[in-house]
């Protein structure tokens, strides 16, 4: 009974907070923080994309950074050099990313487990090197200018646009995960041989999950590019693949909220470390990331969100037992 009321209520509260965020000047929200939040939400979309292929389908893709870069550059080149309309360039950029995902997935998804992780990581390194050296494509050090359409020139407008995209991606994820398609993907994660034996075309479903994941991370890359107004080849770095992986693992893989919590939480933490002003603390961020990751993997194997859920279930049974005076069986 309680669950019925609290869950949508909590979501509405969070959504309300997110909508109100840019106007909370009295608790010190300024332009800079709106920008940080916008970037954090774009990363949250990237984390959600990895969650689909890793958390639900069980295939550890380490190429999300590459696809994020491909999405960002597709948008930048289409919108700036080709001068395409924003509403055409954005979906097209995502589609290009998804198509390249299809081409990469066709051979790489025939490998399993750690081999798939290695193949995708290799692909990411190749993409990074290509963008580093093909300056006609990436613009080299100068990078690529990304135009902001008139309605996204305002900082708060970009904030709401990215928030809208995040909510949309979350809704689509919710539909996928709670459906026949979602349980099909989870069956592959759980026991691929059995999934085959009960008639599921595991390769096709893995490919579908991978392509959708690429589409979404392409969107995340485009949004980052729009927010920054420019981009350079470093956006395709494999380091970002690991960032996204850390967001998902710390937040909680195979939960809907986990990647969002992980991405936004860690992005803020990173920013806070910068602001505290301890000299060189920024250089330690990988170290701190690593420490958090180790602690989470040991003590919260299902991430912050998974762990909280478990605690909540435990607390509920405890509370219930106390209240009704039941004896422990």
């Amino acid at each position: 009974m309680m669950k019925k009321f609290t869950k949508p209520g909590l979501y509405l509260l969070l959504l309300g907070l997110a909508v109100a965020f840019p106007w909370l000047k009295f608790i010190g929200v300024d332009k800079y923080q709106i920008r940080i939040m916008t970037l954090a939400m774009a990363w949250a979309i990237a984390a959600l994309s990895l969650n689909l292929i890793l958390g639900y389908t069980g295939q550890a893709s380490l190429a999300q950074g590459a696809f994020m870069g491909i999405g960002a550059y597709s948008f930048g080149i289409l919108a700036q050099r080709a001068g395409l309309n924003f509403w055409l360039a954005l979906p097209l950029a995502c589609l290009i990313t998804a198509f390249i995902g299809l081409l990469v997935g066709l051979p790489s998804l025939r490998t399993k487990g750690p081999y798939f992780a290695i193949v995708t990581l290799c692909f990411n390194v190749i993409v990074f090197k290509v963008f580093e050296n093909w300056t006609w494509l990436s613009g080299g050090i100068q990078g690529q200018v990304v135009p902001q359409p008139a309605f996204l020139v305002q900082r708060w407008a970009r904030y709401y646009f990215v928030l809208g995209c995040l909510v949309l991606v979350l809704v689509v994820m919710h539909f996928i995960v709670k459906s026949l398609l979602g349980v099909t993907l989870m069956s592959i994660r759980s026991n691929e041989n059995l999934a085959e034996a009960v008639g599921i075309n595991t390769f096709r479903n893995k490919l579908l999950s991978f392509v959708v994941s690429c589409f979404i991370v392409g969107l995340a890359g485009s949004l980052l590019a729009i927010e920054n107004g420019q981009l350079d080849f470093t956006i395709t770095s494999y380091l970002y693949s690991f960032y996204i992986l850390i967001y998902v693992l710390i937040g909680g893989a195979a939960t809907l909220a986990g990647p969002v919590v992980g991405a936004i939480g860690l992005y803020w933490l990173l920013d806070y470390m910068k602001k505290v002003g301890i000299k060189g603390v920024e250089e330690f961020r990988y170290l701190i990331f690593g420490l958090i990751l180790i602690l989470v993997v040991i003590y919260l194997p299902r991430g912050v969100v998974g762990g909280t859920k478990q605690f909540w279930e435990w607390a509920k049974t405890r509370f219930k037992k106390k209240k009704t005076g039941e004896v422990l069986e």
Binding site: I176, S179, L180, L181, V183, L194, A197
Partner: protein, 254 residues
């Protein structure tokens, strides 16, 4: 009449002949038992029929169609369902979700149905739910419906594995030691279940070591040893076959 026909089926693992020119037939509506000592090639035979591993040579004909070397998911769609010797389930998922997955191959909803909430998705969801209720009832697993499959008792897991196989409306069910690892007192449930499956008109092929059980359950028995078929026939006949007694039984207890 003949639902499954296996002709000269052979599989080599390096120099080892795991299955050696095996021929047998499974008549429609029967229960066929497959017996033999450990390492006789019984499970390999199922893997060859089910498509998990391709045969080196030979033919598998199902319902008049040759299915030799097909992918497991194609074989499953054709109507052959199977369970595994080491009970295979989607362990962290609830029992009813395991059953839903078993039905998936009979549904067609894809990404667009999910995103757009098409009537097809709703129809297939309702159909699947109905079928899940039916199979939960049939296998007597109703009380476990919401529990993770890995956490229910071993004997119930065996029934669940059979339930998952039944969800796809198979014509032939391959059961690899359905009572393996289950206490003697608990096997009755599973025997009764297999009997009721035959009553539904589903043909069953079962690997089993418990001779008393297979003797009373099977219509025909195939005996394997070192990958070779050494006997085939009605249970009494196979049980009294000298080569079967020598290779496997020691004496005919039935």
């Amino acid at each position: 009449m003949t639902l499954l026909r296996v002709e000269g089926l052979t599989r080599l693992f390096g120099g080892l002949v795991a299955v050696n020119k095996v021929d047998f037939e499974v008549p429609e509506g029967n229960i066929v038992g497959i017996i033999g000592p450990n390492g006789a090639g019984k499970s390999t035979l199922f893997n060859l029929i089910g498509g998990s591993i391709p045969p080196t040579s030979g033919k598998v004909v199902f319902g008049g169609k040759e299915i030799t070397g097909w992918n497991p998911h194609h074989v499953a769609r054709e109507g052959i369902a199977r369970t595994f010797q080491t009970t295979a389930l989607f362990e962290e998922l609830p029992v009813y979700v395991n059953l839903v997955i078993g039905r998936r191959m009979r549904t067609r909803s894809g990404l667009w149905d999910v995103i757009l909430h098409t009537p097809r998705l709703r129809r297939e969801k309702n159909e699947t739910t109905g079928k899940v209720m039916e199979v939960l009832e049939f296998t007597g697993l109703g009380q476990y419906a919401n529990e993770p499959a890995g956490s229910i008792p071993q004997e119930a897991q065996k029934r669940l594995a059979i339930g998952v196989a039944l969800m796809g409306d198979p014509r032939l069910l391959l059961l690899d030691e359905p009572t393996g690892g289950v206490g003697m007192g608990e096997t009755d449930n599973i025997i009764a279940l297999i009997d009721r499956i035959r009553a539904m008109g589903i043909t069953v092929c079962v690997i089993e070591h418990k001779m008393r059980m297979i003797m009373s359950l099977a219509d025909r028995i195939v005996a394997l040893n070192f990958g070779v078929k050494i006997a085939e026939g009605v249970p009494q006949q196979v049980c009294e076959d000298p080569s079967v007694i020598e290779a496997y039984l020691g004496e005919c207890i039935a």
